[in-house]
């Protein structure tokens, strides 16, 4: 089955590449871009490092058709928390190995293809992506329709995506029907093979998005976006154990269903006096695990000359914890202690706030006459860097609080248009 999907994907991508160059098609514009990103998370003992390269192409053989394809990867190395316990347990078990850090090495590969049919004021886009990791596989299909009305002053957009994902897990003993007796996955060896000690769980993800963009004046526009998502399936980290009591640790156990909603409002305002644009974004989020969050993001972008753009960005984020979140399920004063039938050691489900600051430079060259090096119509070189800090209100590493944990992200990209 996996081979079948792989062959189908390869055939589809080959078709996408070959089709535009076949007889009768005249390529008007072709675009190639590549991006390279590094992520480094310094503290929390993880030293997580991720290198993410990508390469994409787009050809427009006719004015009404765009064909796109691409590849991206994540090369991950570092460590993650394998066994989670908090202050109460650590206080009575100071030598307990409650915060072991498991080595993580993974390689995510993703291939994607997309076709867009364009009219004067409408477009219809459909695409497919397939990705694979040592312990996770994903097939994703998406469609998008967009229309401009009222002299392009109003843009309406509807999108839908469905993921058919699967995640590797260990086979639990047939007698252990209670999740409190399940063991975490040791490593990804044998995943997605006939190994009898390994199994897979399905995850279905439906994502819906509706967007309304509006130009109000020659220098002011807004966008309102609603996003809904339904996730159904195994959502725990199969590698992570949580200490539940004296001598008891069990694989992380989270609900299998989650409904998520977000409403995002954006505005862009051009300030003529300083010839710069300000963009502001506000997002509210809620899900059925009782996580509520708010995000505010501001960007300031300005042209320096005719080919260089500089952008500065700030972002703030705050969320509440999931209803079943606890830093230590073994007990202790609130907010510690058991929280119903589920348990997690996931810091992303704990209450925290974060900040991000960054900047971006974009250098675009579009010659008025002729082509660059005789072949390129234009090219664009961009670089960005961001630093982000996380302050966890309850999450600890064996009782040690984590405040202002830093991560660094840098990206460089090149786009060439032929």
């Amino acid at each position: 089955m996996q081979l079948g999907i792989g062959r189908a994907l390869a055939a589809a991508l080959a078709l996408l590449v070959v089709l535009p160059w076949s007889s009768g098609a005249t390529a008007q514009v072709a675009e190639i871009d590549t991006a390279h990103s590094v992520f480094y998370e310094a503290p929390t003992r993880t030293h997580m490092f991720v290198y993410s390269p990508s390469a994409d192409f787009q050809v427009s053989p006719w004015p009404w058709l765009d064909v796109r394809g691409g590849w991206e990867a994540d090369v991950v190395s570092g460590a993650s928390v394998a066994t989670k316990a908090g202050a109460a347990y650590q206080a009575t078990h100071p030598a307990a190995d409650v915060v072991t850090t498991a080595s993580v090495h993974d390689f995510r590969n993703l291939g994607r293809g997309e076709v867009a049919f364009k009219g004067e004021t409408t477009s219809l886009t459909g695409g497919y992506a397939y990705s694979t990791e040592h312990d996770y596989q994903s097939s994703s299909m998406h469609v998008n329709s967009r229309t401009d009305v009222l002299q392009h002053n109003t843009q309406l957009e509807l999108s839908y995506a469905h993921n058919f994902d699967s995640i590797c897990d260990r086979v639990q003993s047939s007698g252990d029907t209670s999740p409190t007796r399940w063991f975490a996955l040791e490593n990804s060896t044998g995943c997605f093979t006939a190994d009898p000690t390994r199994t897979t769980h399905a995850i279905g993800i439906d994502t819906y998005e509706a967007s309304w963009g509006q130009s109000w004046t020659p220098v002011f526009e807004t966008q309102l976006t609603y996003t809904g998502q339904l996730v159904n399936g195994f959502q725990s980290d199969p590698y992570r154990s949580v200490v539940l009591g004296e001598g008891i640790k069990a694989q992380e156990y989270e609900p299998t269903e989650r409904a998520r909603e977000a409403l995002t409002a954006r505005l862009a305002w051009y300030l003529r006096s300083i010839k710069a644009a300000v963009r502001l974004s506000l997002r509210g989020y809620y899900d059925t695990w009782a996580i509520e969050s708010g995000t505010v993001e501001a960007e300031f972008e300005k042209w320096l000359g005719e080919s260089l753009r500089i952008m500065a960005r700030g972002r703030g984020y705050k969320q509440t914890g999931a209803v079943f979140w606890s830093d230590d399920y073994t007990g202790g004063l609130p907010p510690l202690g058991p929280r119903g039938q589920y348990w997690t050691g996931d810091r992303e489900l704990s209450p925290f706030w974060s900040w991000l600051a960054g900047g971006r430079l974009v250098w675009t060259v579009t010659p008025a006459r002729g082509r660059i090096l005789g072949i390129m119509e234009s090219f664009k070189l961009a670089g960005s860097a961001s630093v982000t800090g996380y302050t966890y209100e309850q999450y600890t590493l064996g009782g040690t609080p984590i405040s202002n944990a830093r991560a660094y992200i840098g990206t460089a990209s090149l786009v060439a248009v032929f």
């Binding site: 991006a35 990791e133 996770y136 994903s138 002053n153 994902d165 130009s215």
Partner: protein, 73 residues
């Protein structure tokens, strides 16, 4: 076809009414077409940052629907 709830009809009506108020003529759209005024002008460049942020927060939404794996260790 099931009846559309009245609050949704009101919202749709409000959107259409507000949209009709906007009168930016095509020859006035030069600034609106500038990359600095577009919300996703550098979408591919920003994708790795969004991916990193999404994997470290309990939230999602507002940046498109296309998926493709986890990469979330």
């Amino acid at each position: 076809m099931p009846p559309v709830p009245s609050n949704r009809r009101m919202l749709l009506g409000l959107v259409l009414a507000l949209s009709g108020c906007a009168t930016v003529a095509p020859q006035q759209r030069a600034i609106l077409a500038d990359p600095t005024m577009r919300f996703d002008a550098e979408g591919k460049h920003e994708a790795p940052l969004r991916h990193a942020i999404d994997n470290r927060e309990g939230s999602m939404g507002g940046t498109g629907v296309s998926g493709g794996g986890c990469g979330c260790n």
